[in-house]
Symmetry: C2
């Protein structure tokens, strides 16, 4: 069970605020929309460098802006509500009542405190476009698209001088990275389904972000309380902590009690998109017995989470009854939690999965709130021995079929991928995903390139992540050192995030992203000129870099330019 | 300066001994030679697994054999002397006298204690083959070759059932990995120059090992005291510690005082080949002034180290005078220490490097002791911006030319490679090295795939290392978390070694090495069946895996199968 929490003992989550070393947040004003201002982090160099500040992509939200007062009890400012309302086609309504089972029946001192502010949810009325995909197809550039164009360009107003050359020298395996990102390019990529903007209309606190292979590679951090340990406070702190170090997205994989309330605290305080796996909560509602799951319970859970503002749902609709026997000869069977829940249900009832049979209804619900699909790989390989087998690829083919259904309903879609895959089998995954799923963005866990390094799985998977990111994966789901062994703590979250930031960046460099090399070059010059402070400040993790240096050469004198 | 050491305060180095968890050392007897017995580490599984012990490659030497009494004051047993003597063509002689400058002029309490035992050195007489390459060309299978064949097969007497299939499913980019390694195959690979057996005739304590792309990928750990910190004791301990976790090779990069005595303690206690960069010690002998280096000082240093038993020398003979100007426009100039020493010398004298002009004489010296060349990449890129530039490739072409000269003298050769290289430029390095250097083994540092992760450079380089290992690199030089920031301590050495073991293993899997997957599969089965103890014991680092697990789920009950 979860940690026992007495309502009176509930602490307001403590989160880390303040700028990163030598960094300041600047806001770039859109020329097109008055109320679009995009935060960029600028790293200041030592005067002796005689170089301009280095702009870097900023996932940290208002937490690193000293001008913003953070109050976790109130949540972040809901800037984006005005954008959603002015576009129309939505209505405010009372919303579903929170039920005891939403928090696993937790009562009294076991029930985590509710988030203090309640907002009435919005939903689409069916009178016109609601999702970013529908607006894109209608030729409309949303404020989110404009925001993203400025963000991906790191605030630049025009292409870099050597952009064309850098792209030409890269190897992007058929991607189509432009020298300069325009809002029209963003719209077009979304319209084609090659990119998604996860942005539930009920999560107006988020800073819009794009996931697609012609943009910077993104990373995801998983958090979540469990049936064993951790509390609401810890999970909110981990969310802020993960974004501080560069997580573009956070998945709340909470299980056990208090799922609803934990999620509310997280979303209301999150500047990044939040994803979930709704089947986890649905399972809690039926007492953890997979066979007792029903479409009605699942549907109710979807609506509950749509109203809260979850930005994307992992849905394992590709785990079909006829595929389950394909895993019989595997070394590690079905290792995906969602996948094994659904396989158990299918076998118990000997019926096709309701996620598959009710897929059109799921689309209708998600469209009303613009929740993005993350079609889950419930049959992903759990060992290198099982990589690229028939079970895995049969599911991927079904995900391709479902992608087109979801697109038909106006929903945004990305596709989840493996898992454990030796290096020589990674590119086959990417190529097949692009082909089967019409270039919908790929979102992979690692992949882990060996099975023999528990305790170091952030590294064994970071290798695969960098490679598949280079080949075209749009978002990399991090793996922490605790993978396979236990739940990550704060330090593990940071190590996982930094490892995946460097893997994503390695992919951006190799693809020939026109601006990716600027930070490397600035750091290399600092290194060559022994500007230690600049080297630390330009690092993905300035604190660790400084600490490691000081362990051997603690004298200030060594750090002077 | 080095730590002050009072002779009376000198402690016998404390090293870690005893078996790894659930492991025992077994010796496989050669059918061909009575005195060839090859150690293999076997990991025992829980009885419920109903599986045989898992054999793994063992780099740990006698330190993990409870039947061997370790006495660091005496050094390891000199088993291989008999093999060298029975082959003939060598003579014992008095050897060069140790001079004060060999230890940087350290005196009194600043002088590290001499190793207590002195052995007269051996050298070739010129009457017949001395090097493994010369024996191989003469069609002679040495005991080292037989040892290696058994070692690489992990004690198997015949090919695995699925060996051919596993090789066919891998992607080895034109390598020629056999289903089963015979001593004749080892001989042939050495004769062709495609593999080396670094084994100075004056380092009879070592357990023979092969480096070549048709064998298991090897890793190297760098240690060495410096002008700032650390002592003889610490370096001997680090050497044993590095091999305990899987280092196949160790380079002693000591600088400052006491280089000679530190190295003697290391070699006499090392079961793995030891490499050095002789120019580092030569520079100390001329007071650290590069311009004052002479061929005579360098030659004297080579002989000193040949007699001590160094197994391979990094020699930056490709840093030629006409190439130096090619680095003028680089972001990070010349970052190799040996490279910049020689560039400074060439520019100061405006003369061609003596390492290049005297190369034939260097070959003659190294041949007498069977010291392997590791032709250094003194112009390797120090930033991703400088990767694959004209300076780097001009040097590589010269290394190809020198490879053929060294082969002409009967010397074994490997080639060092970069450095900092973004992912899409890695394979170009491998392909060019194979072409220019006649398939001599490639030995690379990383490469690092981005420049922005100081503190995590073991990871950013582990990505490149796994990839280039897959493409054909035979040995990967580890990078620790302290790279660019300070000297690695014991913990850093371990993290560096484990990271590179997993990178090398990922490469073996991807190449289709027939036996590499056995450990992954055993661990995956243990994982799927919740045999926690087996999962820990099969891990590259059982201690960390167990510790991470116990942080969340400390109960013994959770570990039962």
């Amino acid at each position: 069970m979860n940690k026992h929490i007495d309502q009176s003992e509930f602490q307001t989550p403590q989160v880390t605020t303040g700028p990163l070393p030598a960094s300041k947040k600047v806001y770039v004003q859109s020329d097109r929309f008055d109320d679009v201002r995009v935060p960029i982090r600028e790293i200041e160099l030592h005067p002796s460098a005689n170089e301009p500040n280095v702009p870097v992509y900023d996932t940290t939200g208002p937490y690193t802006d000293p001008a913003v007062t953070i109050d976790v009890e109130k949540g972040l400012a809901r800037h984006r509500t005005a954008w959603v309302l002015e576009r129309g086609n939505v209505e405010e309504y009372e919303g579903r009542e929170v039920k005891p089972e939403d928090n696993g029946g937790a009562q009294g001192k076991y029930l985590a405190r509710e988030f203090p502010v309640r907002n009435r949810p919005l939903r689409g009325t069916g009178t016109g476009p609601v999702t970013q995909l529908e607006f894109a197809r209608a030729g409309i550039i949303t404020k989110e698209m404009e925001y993203i164009a400025i963000r991906e360009n790191l605030g630049r107003k025009q292409a870099l001088e050597d952009a064309e050359k850098t792209i030409a020298q890269g190897e992007s395996f058929g991607a189509d990275i432009p020298p300069f990102i325009t809002a029209e390019f963003v719209r077009d990529e979304v319209a084609r389904g090659r990119a998604v903007i996860p942005s539930n209309i009920n999560h107006p606190e988020l800073e819009p972000q794009i996931i697609g292979r012609n943009f910077l590679v993104k990373i995801n951090a998983n958090i979540g309380n469990s049936a064993v340990t951790s509390s609401v406070e810890e999970e909110v702190d981990k969310m802020v902590w993960a974004t501080r170090w560069g997580a573009d997205n956070v998945m709340d994989l909470s299980t056990g009690r208090n799922i609803h309330n934990t999620r509310e605290w997280i979303i209301r305080n999150s500047p990044v998109p939040i994803g979930t796996v709704p089947i986890y909560q649905a399972l809690e509602k039926v007492g953890g017995v997979a066979e007792d799951l029903t479409w009605e319970v699942y549907r109710d859970t979807l609506i509950e989470q749509c109203e809260q503002g979850v930005d994307y749902f992992t849905i394992h609709a590709g785990v079909r009854l006829p595929y389950i026997h394909l895993t019989a000869d595997r070394v590690t069977g079905i290792v995906s939690r969602g996948g094994s829940i659904m396989a158990k249900w299918c076998l118990a009832h000997h019926r096709e999965s309701f996620l598959y049979t009710k897929f059109a209804e799921i689309c209708e619900i998600m469209r009303q709130y613009d929740v993005t699909f993350s079609l889950g790989d419930g049959m992903r390989p759990g060992s290198t021995a099982d990589a690229n087998d028939r079970a895995q690829f049969a599911e991927l083919e079904t995900l391709g079929e479902l992608t087109k259904v979801a697109w038909g309903h106006g929903c945004q879609v990305m596709i989840e991928g493996p898992g454990h895959v030796p290096m020589h089998k990674i590119k086959i995954n990417m190529d097949k995903q692009l082909r089967e799923c019409g270039e919908a963005p790929f979102y992979t866990l690692g992949p882990l390139t060996t099975d023999i390094a528990p305790g170091y799985d952030h590294i064994t998977s970071g290798i695969g992540a960098a490679m598949i990111g280079w080949f075209g994966t749009a978002m990399l789901c991090y793996v922490t050192p605790k993978e396979h062994l236990g739940l990550p703590n704060r330090d593990d979250v940071k190590v996982g995030v930094i490892t995946y930031k460097l893997a994503a960046h390695a992919a951006d460099l190799a693809k020939g992203h026109p601006a990716a090399h600027l930070r490397d070059d600035a750091l290399s010059r600092a290194r060559f000129e022994f500007r230690w402070e600049d080297q630390f400040n330009l690092a993905l993790d300035p604190e660790t870099a400084r600490d490691f240096h000081d362990q051997t050469l603690p004298k200030e004198a060594h750090k002077v330019a």
